[in-house]
Structure formats: C-alpha cells, structure tokens
Amino acid sequence: SQTIHQWPATLVQPVGSPLSLECTVEGTSNPNLYWYRQAAGRGLQLLFYSVGIGQISSEVPQNLSASRPQDRQFILSSKKLLLSDSGFYLCARSSATRWETQYFGPGTRLLVL
C-alpha cells in the first residue's frame, strides 16, 4: 500500500524559532508531493508542490520553504516562525500521471506561541 508518514504529529514552537516538518512516502516511485496548510475555520491552502527531486513550486509567498532531497521525502522549513504560521500542515501525494487525485497524510499540528 502507499503510505504517507508525517513527522512530528504535534509541535509547539516559540515565535522566531526554526521549523522543519518531514513527509515521507512509501510504496510508490516518482510521486508528486504537496504541502497544504489548514488554518482554523478555513479550507486547505496549497503551499508547495514538487514533481521530482529538487523541483519545488511555490504557490504562496511567505516565510516558509520546501525541499525535496529524495524521491519520497518532502520537507517544509522556516528560518523564523511567525504566529500566523500556526495551523495543521498536510502532506499529500499523487501519481505523476494523475496529479489531480491526491491522497493525504495524517498531518502535523503546529502551534506557534
């Protein structure tokens, strides 16, 4: 089966601290990978997507960045967190040929204080 792991599950960080969230995918090769953020009372907002190693597309200008160092690994980072970065971060995958059918991981809940 194709499984998505996200680490950590929950994170509490002070304002101004760095961030690193990890997403790893099992059971598939060359997936498209996505980072979404879900803020309280809102739908999901696409942050980044990647079609391959080292290929990152950014959808929303912000203090976050993403990297894809390996085929099945997608990392979301920040050098200095803001209060507004709090939210639920979801990693998703799709096949390279059917990008529109996206499957989501369990998510990471981030609280910035």
């Binding site: 739908g43 999901l44 040929t97 809940r109």
Partner: protein, 117 residues
C-alpha cells in the same frame, strides 16, 4: 481563478436520516471534482471523485455525489447516516490541464456534520 463554496458551515442530522451536503464551484469549464472527509485531528480521506461520464458517482462508506453542470454543483448525499459519519467534509476542485506536471486542488471551507442520536 476557480473557487469552491460550501454554503453550510454546520449541519445537524439525526442518525438514520438522509444527508445532503452542498458544493458549488466557479470555473469556466468542468473541473475535476472531489469530496474528502476529515475526522478530528486526522488527515483527509478521499470519498469520491468525478472526472467525466456518469454524473452520479459512488464513493466509499455509502456516499454518492451528483454533478449538475447547469448548477455548477457537486452535492454529496447519503441515504442513512451513522454516528461514525460525524466529521468535517470538504469539497474540492482541480483544473483540467494538458500535458504533465502537477497542480493543487482548490478546497471549500468545509461543512461540519453533527449526528444526533
């Protein structure tokens, strides 16, 4: 740009009753259409999807959805809800594109479903 509207923020339904969750989209052509469900603190699970063809699509957990082009709608239905259906439901659209690559889905803000015993 495309948009998705879920007009009902909360819906309360008695267990065993029928359910319909509304979704309207704004886009110049027919997009890909999806319904996802999210239990508290969990990721999203794909319930069903519509790409083309038969406008009534069947999904998991007894859910179905009907695409109505004239109304730009993709409403989710279930004939008899169970207490375990209590969750947040999201409608999403993806814009058809030629060639490869990827793109994000556009989500509605969700409908919170409450099941009364």
């Amino acid at each position: 740009a495309q948009s998705v509207t879920q007009p009902d923020i909360h819906i309360t339904v008695s267990e065993g009753a029928s359910l319909e969750l509304r979704c309207n989209y704004s886009y110049g052509a027919t997009p890909y259409l999806f319904w996802y469900v999210q239990s508290p603190g969990q990721g999203l699970q794909l319930l069903l999807k519509y790409f083309s063809g038969d406008t009534l699509v069947q999904g998991i957990k007894g859910f179905e959805a009907e695409f109505k082009r004239s109304q730009s709608s993709f409403n989710l239905r279930k004939p008899s809800v169970h207490w375990s259906d209590a969750a947040e439901y999201f409608c999403a659209v993806g814009i058809k594109r030629s060639g490869g690559g990827a793109d994000g889905l556009t989500f509605g803000k969700g409908t919170h479903l409450i099941i009364q015993p």
